[in-house]
């Protein structure tokens, strides 16, 4: 393209910002609308279809049978409640673990230590998820390091290798950095003066924490909880690797239905559950100001 034509085109584009915007948006919106959103829409539409059992072909006639099955068969309710329950337990655990740590890091640790702590929290965050779950599988195995340690101090052995307890521990471990970061940021933003004033007015320690600090960092806590809750809700890898007989999650059923039973409509129907749950959670979180704290 010679210089004159280039200048011409450049000037034309400069005078027509809408054209520049349109060109810039063409690729991203094309990609997302055609590939991603289209696929997503079709997927949830297919929740209203069904599959012929023998040939595996999707029958394109509208039916609410999938949702009926979800509601009527107690097994799916059990699985959904278990998933949500463990997600909640993991969230609470992570809050309890993260808040004191974040308080130390934000207010007590000297500057250099702060930077080191930050990096120390980021490293597990970025180490492969699969690797860390595998590590716990080895640690919690019958002949793993946990039982070796307990045996050495005379406490016998625990049989938690494939169980909901194992999943609770692993999930709490994996998502902990996600909770630490927003809470840390939230505590950092609380001015010293607030806590000093609270002390001046006679509140100490726990009271000051409960009445002053906690309400101020609540948005940060909720922000972190979005991650821990949502990530647990959709997971199937951890239940497969460290879960036992009663550890089926929504994600496992979805994976099963797609990868093994080839019943995508039913999987899509079941997948609306975490979607709806997260939708409600996000609405509440927004109310509590979590989005500003992210």
């Amino acid at each position: 393209m010679n210089a004159a034509a280039r200048t011409h085109a450049s000037a034309a584009l400069y005078r027509r910002p809408w054209l520049r915007a349109a060109l810039l948006l063409s690729a991203p919106s094309g990609w997302f609308v055609l590939i991603y959103l289209g696929a997503l829409f079709l997927l949830f539409l297919s929740a209203l279809w069904s599959v012929d059992a023998f040939s595996g072909k999707v029958v394109h006639s509208w039916t609410l049978a999938n949702f009926e099955t979800l509601i009527k068969v107690p097994a799916y309710r059990t699985i959904a409640l278990r998933t949500i329950g463990i997600a909640a337990a993991v969230t609470v655990t992570d809050i309890l673990l993260a808040v004191p740590f974040a308080f130390f890091a934000a207010r007590i640790a000297p500057k250099r230590l702060q930077a080191a702590l930050f990096v120390a929290v980021l490293i597990p965050l970025w180490s492969s998820y699969l690797v860390r779950v595998f590590a716990w599988r080895l640690i919690l195995a019958k002949d793993g390091i946990l039982n070796w340690f307990l045996g050495n101090i005379g406490l016998g052995s625990l049989n938690i290798g494939y169980s909901n307890w194992a999943m609770w521990i692993v999930f709490s471990y994996i998502w902990l950095p996600f909770m630490i970061l927003p809470v840390w940021a939230a505590i950092e933003r609380v001015p010293d003066s607030f806590l000093e004033a609270s002390a001046d007015l006679g509140a100490h320690g726990w009271r000051s924490f409960r009445l002053v600090l906690l309400p101020l960092i609540l948005p940060g806590i909720v922000a972190g909880s979005i991650f821990t809750f949502s990530l647990t809700l959709g997971d199937f890898i951890t239940p497969t690797l460290v879960g036992g007989a009663g550890s089926t999650f929504i994600g496992n059923v979805v994976y099963q239905e797609v990868g093994i039973s080839n019943n995508v409509p039913f999987a899509a129907a079941f997948a609306t559950v975490p979607l709806v749950v997260m939708g409600i959670y996000l609405l509440i979180a927004r109310r509590l100001g979590a989005f500003e704290a992210l």
Partner: protein, 291 residues
Amino acid sequence: MIGTGRWSRVAFAVWAGLIILFLFFPIVIIMLYAFNPSNVQSWPLSGLSTRWFSSTWNNTEVRQALSLSLRAGLLATGIAMVIGTMAAFAVDRFRFFGRQAVSLVLILPIALPGIITGMALNSFISFNNLTFSLLTIVIGHATFCIVVVYNNVLARLRRTQSSLIEASMDLGADGWQTFRFVTLPMIATALVAGGLLAFALSFDEIVVTTFTAGAQNTLPIWIFAHIRNGQQLPQVNVVVLFVILVSLIPVALAQRLTRDTGALRSGARAPAAGAAPPAGPARAAGAGAIS
């Protein structure tokens, strides 16, 4: 005041120390297992040895999985860098209908649970009778990598002054020259940082990849299959050590590059904009785009 008393400072410090131990303990253990001389995974290890390293490297399946992961990562990152930058420019420079919606839509692939994104893409691929191959893996990865690049470039654009662009044009440069000589250098490090994070994300991803891969394995899929297969566990340990190291390097580089934006200090957006988390989608990166 909380945390000023001597004892409470010590208590908090001990707690923080325990948390750090908790965070690193499994990682150190699994790295140790790579040096396990026996093929039994029980603890304690009977010694340290590198005997499995050569057989792992010689394992063609491992090398093929590694090659596939690298190719998918590079391609997906490339696509994400182009599309993410375009979206970032559009959102930063212009006011248009649905500007808010763009941010929301871009983070959907990682804000929604991986199984949903994976399922959706799987149905899309099956429906269009595409073969599950490198192409489909790249489509999947690029879709959620776009937002990582987008966030980084957008954060940088917000810090750059538009007056520089105008000055460049006043001095006679046309649109392309301005882009090449003024804009691009300004966003270069953010772009590269975003690309590095996107690559790390893609290299480690397993959930969406499970739904979009065909007969071939990426490295995480190989690891997952062989953890359960149980016949080549020593090699799995070695591969896993390798994966940890490889995931950390791009992130470390990315942090260096975005140091000027305060990414190292725990600013609210910094971990969000800079650090995109693995496997479970990059919620933080996504979250940075929500508000």
